[in-house]
Amino acid sequence: MTITREDQDGKIVLTLSGQIDSKTAKAFEEEINRALGDEQSGIVIDCADLAFISSAGLRIFLIAAKKLKPRKRSLAVCSLQPLVADIFQTTGLPGILTIFLDRESALAGG
């Protein structure tokens, strides 16, 4: 799993690739926490190259959403592959995260 961070249109964009499982979730959590520490920016998580995510990773999405909501900062997720979209749907995340088809719409709407 690799995570790259870019600052684009005043937002932090984290691009995930590979898999987020019990082994790699820690690195994802650390990167999200760094982004949360930057008080100004909304966060976009680009999942275009994310093959799958297990509950160890879903947990981090939930924690991030819980922390961001009271601060009125946005968390947008985009470019889900079919399996990851199924996993999100199955665990009720679309009701909690804002999901966009691609990065452009996430940057515009997130």
Binding site: D21, K23, I53, S54, S55, L83, T90, T91, I96
Partner: protein, 142 residues
């Protein structure tokens, strides 16, 4: 095609689990299991093995054993551990309708296994937990 089988055995520790999962994933790829199915099975296995490691203290010769079979259009995995009796198939489903503030951050793993596998069974086999998962696939799945 005859069924291909492989066994993996490791101590209940995260590094040993990660090494076994890499070998397991390579075995599925060698058997021409489509990537989307490999990912599904790897996800389910990550959930179940994480639970096994949480409940099985290392030491005293305790092991986790995986037996995988690929054949007749399905991947079947039998997972054994030396932890105290625990039946994951009985874990109640999460309440996905709760508001963000009320949603617990855990409890999704077993739900994913149940939803993404075609077979999810448990038995207590002597002093071991034995979980079976299986997933059917078509060779032309992506």
């Amino acid at each position: 095609m005859a069924a291909a089988t492989q066994d993996f055995s490791f101590a209940p520790e995260p590094d040993a689990m990660a090494t076994a999962m890499e070998a397991f994933s390579a075995f599925l790829a060698d058997q021409a299991v489509p990537d989307s199915m490999v990912n599904r099975v790897m996800m389910a296995l990550d959930e179940l093995l994480t639970n096994s490691l949480r409940h099985t203290a290392p030491g005293n010769g305790r092991r986790v054993d995986l037996k995988v079979q690929v054949g007749r259009g399905a991947v079947t995995v039998d997972l054994f551990d030396d932890g105290p009796a625990f039946d994951p198939t009985q874990v109640p489903p999460p309440d996905l309708d709760l508001a963000l503030e009320d949603r617990p951050i855990g409890g999704l793993g077993v739900h994913l296994v149940r939803q993404f596998m075609d077979v999810f069974q448990y038995e207590r086999a002597g002093n071991r937990n034995h979980v079976t998962i299986a997933k059917h696939f078509k060779q032309d799945d992506p």
